[in-house]
């Protein structure tokens, strides 16, 4: 493979503690190396910012519910289509872009790894077909477990070993990456017309509580020693007062310790925390609970979070939290799509407009920024928009602008129709912190990579790591004249390398790279009981046979990268 040397850039790498030093980054055979030969191609990065390729920890970018959004929202593609151009195939879609556009847009912003946050196991094949068709970026997908009948039955009796064996089987057949939990118990309860709004609401028929599900899944996750922690969207999302449920959920991790060989220290990842940090009793007295959530997370080091920033756009919400989407369509009267996935999960889709003229939306915007600004350890808080739920991922440069500039935040606050309400219901007006580029690299590179157990592979620029490198047209030595320059610089990279291949040059795609599908191959002791249970459930309940279930082979996973986990000796 070619050799490259990225010269004289201002390098920010939390993995090595490099804070803007002018350094050269050498690339050889797909890896970062100490030095390259004189024949290496030179990329001049003087006056520019150099970071590792960014890592997306939570986005909905592939699979049946994303595609349902694409199908039932042709208007999302209206005026947002781009024709074939150079290396790029045609693309379209603003909040739910086509697979090709998804890959290109991430790469142009300097992202080289992304996680699909909710894979319905039964439709894993569809998820992988879309991952395959998303160019450039490495991707993994999290199968959902929080409402799965096997899990509910095993954990009701606290059978951790069986749960772990089932998870290992599921990760293998779905080519999954981590244990995702969405509204634990609540989505299953909704099949009975109910919901679980607290961690102690029993799930009908199964007679188990969300607290038992969450604790059990953390235990099973650590029993296996998976790369990522249990990744949770707690109960009671998006309701005023939900921060209490969130705190109750976070407390379930107390005393739990990470067990893995990947350098991960957390046992629970709280996703899109913005949606779970609401105080108040109704939409009238709705206020921010960002302080309560971040105070707790700051003190408890075994938890990582991501933000879920509201970007004030028209978007498409989609989640395995079926009851929430039903609730949402009742609020905004826009079209609702819904699906029940047999023994496993469910999903709903509803378009949503985060209007700067609506006080609730403006307060949500503020909460999403308060959380990262209040977090003391940027290695445990990651920037997301829960794409596309709080906004499209293509708005990351705008979120970065708001986090890096109080002036940009003030401009937005002044543009809100209910500015006074935003200031009285949140503390956004009194936060003068401006994120540094080093902290940005922690929140978008080193941090998420570590939480995902990929800290040795990506998210940093240490020799030996994958050569995922982003070069931004942003000069850290010069004062920022206009915050818009921040957004512009982070929108389109000067250069991006993915595993040593240059994929972006001057903001344009120049190669579709060597995209991989990341999955976790966990080996466990033979467990005839779990295998028999699986066989039985397929015969009795599933609408497809077990033989047709597995996502296997070149069609679905053309370029796999398996992280091996050995849990046989436990």
């Amino acid at each position: 493979m070619s050799e490259y040397i990225i010269k004289n850039g201002n390098v920010f790498d939390p993995v090595q503690g490099i804070k803007g030093d002018k350094k050269d980054i050498a690339i050889k055979d797909g890896k970062i190396v100490d030095k390259v030969g004189s024949g290496a191609k030179v990329i001049d990065a003087s006056g520019k910012t150099v970071m590792a390729g960014a890592v997306e920890i939570h986005a909905h970018i592939a699979g049946p519910k994303v595609n349902l959004g694409r199908i039932y929202r042709p208007e999302d593609k209206l005026f947002s289509c781009t024709p074939t151009k150079g290396m790029e195939r045609m693309g379209g879609g603003a909040s739910i872009p086509t697979t090709f556009k998804t890959g290109y847009e991430y790469a142009k912003m300097g992202y080289t790894t992304a996680m699909e946050a909710a894979m319905p196991p039964m439709f894993a094949k569809h998820v992988h077909e879309e991952i395959r068709d998303t160019p450039i970026i490495d991707e993994g997908a999290f199968p959902v477990f929080g409402n799965n009948w096997f899990v509910l039955e095993y954990l009701k009796n606290h059978e951790i070993e069986n749960t772990a064996a089932y998870i290992a089987w599921m990760l293998r057949v779905t080519k999954g990456y981590a244990v995702k939990v969405v509204n634990p118990g609540g989505t299953e309860a909704w099949a009975w017309g109910l919901n679980c709004l607290s961690v102690n609401d029993p799930v009908p028929y199964f007679d188990i509580t969300p607290a038992e599900i969450v604790k059990g899944l953390i235990e099973a996750n650590e029993y296996l020693g998976l790369p990522h922690s249990m990744h949770i969207h707690p109960n009671n999302l998006g309701n005023p007062g939900c921060y209490q449920t969130t705190l109750d959920t976070l407390r379930l991790a107390e005393g739990m310790k990470a067990n893995n060989k990947f350098g991960r220290e957390s046992v629970m990842h709280l996703t899109h925390s913005q949606f779970h940090a609401y105080k108040g009793t109704n939409w009238g007295d709705f206020e921010s609970g960002a302080k309560e959530i971040t105070d707790y997370v700051n003190k408890n080091k075994n938890i990582t979070i991501d933000t879920g920033n509201v970007t004030l756009d028209e978007t498409t919400t989609m989640t395995a939290d079926g009851p929430f989407e039903h609730h949402l369509t009742g609020l905004n009267n826009l079209k609702w799509a819904n699906c029940d996935v047999e023994l496993e999960t469910a999903a709903g889709v509803v378009p949503y407009i985060y209007s700067p003229n609506i006080s609730v939306c403006a307060i949500q915007w503020a909460i999403g920024l308060e959380i990262p600004l209040m977090m003391k350890d940027p290695m445990r808080c990651y920037i997301t928009t829960d794409h596309p739920n709080a906004g499209p991922f293509t708005r990351y440069p705008r979120v970065i602008k708001w986090l890096m500039s109080t002036k940009a935040r003030e401009t937005q606050i002044n543009a809100f129709k209910h500015k006074d309400k935003v200031l009285s219901q949140t503390s956004i007006g009194s936060l003068d912190k401006e994120l540094s580029l080093y902290e940005l690299a922690q929140m978008t590179r080193a941090g998420p990579a570590k939480s995902l157990g990929l800290g040795g592979m990506c998210g940093g620029l240490k020799p030996g790591m994958d050569a995922d490198v982003a070069v931004y047209n942003f000069n850290p030595d010069k004062p920022v004249a206009d915050p818009e320059d921040i957004e512009k610089a982070f929108s389109r990279c000067a250069a991006v390398f993915k595993s040593g291949v240059q994929v972006v040059s001057n903001g344009e795609i120049v190669s579709t790279g060597n995209k991989r599908t990341l999955w976790v191959n966990a080996k466990v002791n033979d467990n005839p009981q779990v295998m028999r249970d699986i066989n039985e459930k397929f015969l009795k309940y599933y609408s497809i046979t077990q033989a047709n279930y597995e996502a296997l082979g070149h069609h679905f996973v053309p370029n796999p990268y398996a992280l091996e986990v050995d849990a046989t000796h436990v």
């Binding site: 929202r73 042709p74 208007e75 999302d76 209206l78 024709p83 009267n333 826009l334 079209k335």
Partner: protein, 266 residues
């Protein structure tokens, strides 16, 4: 006001996507510059001048520009797309999306127009002397934001789904209309001087339909609400009043539930 006349001289083999034929994109340009404006024939990017002979010149602004479209433009789409001001006269019949997303100005189509004319129109005036196709003044596919302002007059007949998801503005049809008139509408007014088919105002939340001719099948979601005298275009008349769609959600205004109104001339 300056006038640009464009005359079709080379008919396209495929349909021409000519969203640049608007006073807004012509404004400030000479005939030669207008000829260079981009259009798509199928998926091939080409220029306006390949198909049209262009005479005259545009005014400095859209408001100062009048476009006269001559010749056979039955295979041309998007005439007057997103126009904000000025005037257009289309002398023959034309294809889809005439005046779609227009916010101002005036379009006079002397022939027939195909479907999706005035999609999501916000303002201005569209007059069609012939017949209109389906989805006149409706929302784009999948969208819930139809015509919200402006005026449409059709001297002939119109197709189905007229005023779907309409929220404001006014449509007058002198002839007949097909099924699904003003379905899902949340405002606005449609007057049909001729006859109508079925499913008028299906899932309609707010807004007004006035029918002078017959209704083939009354929508079951509408219920009789007595008789009223209305003045339409300065002429008074007696109408049967219906409210609906009873199967749909309805807002409350000053404590009273707001329904969509359907008036049928007696």
């Amino acid at each position: 006001m300056e006038t640009v006349t464009i005359t079709m001289k080379n008919l396209p083999a495929l349909y021409l996507e000519a969203d640049t034929i608007t006073p807004d994109s012509f404004a400030g340009k000479t005939a030669a510059q207008i000829a260079e404006l981009p259009v798509y024939e199928g998926n091939v990017a080409t220029t306006l001048g390949k198909y049209f002979e262009i005479n005259g010149g545009a005014g400095a602004t859209a408001a100062d520009t009048k476009i006269i479209v001559k010749g056979d433009v039955r295979k041309v789409k998007y005439l007057g797309f997103k126009m904000s001001a000025g005037e257009m006269v289309i002398e023959g019949s034309t294809d889809l999306y005439v005046g779609a997303w227009m916010t101002g100005g005036k379009i006079l189509a002397k022939g027939n127009v195909e479907g999706f004319a005035a999609t999501a129109m916000k303002g201005g005036e569209l007059t069609i002397e012939g017949n209109a196709g389906n989805y006149l003044g409706a929302a784009y596919r999948g969208d819930w934001r139809g015509m919200s302002g402006g005026k449409i007059l059709v001297k002939g007949n119109a197709g189905s789904d007229v005023g779907m998801y309409m929220t404001g503005g006014e449509i007058v049809i002198n002839g007949n209309v097909d099924v699904h008139l003003m379905t899902h509408a949340e405002g606005g007014k449609t007057i049909v001087k001729g006859n109508t088919q079925s499913k008028l105002g299906g899932q309609m939340v707010d807004g007004t339909i006035i029918i002078y001719g017959s209704i083939e099948t009354m929508t079951p979601g509408f219920k009789p609400n007595g008789e009223v005298e209305l003045e339409v275009d300065g002429v008074k008349g007696k109408f049967a009043h219906f409210i609906g769609d009873m199967g749909e959600r309805h807002k409350k205004k000053k404590g009273a539930v707001v329904y969509a109104n359907l008036y049928k001339k007696i």
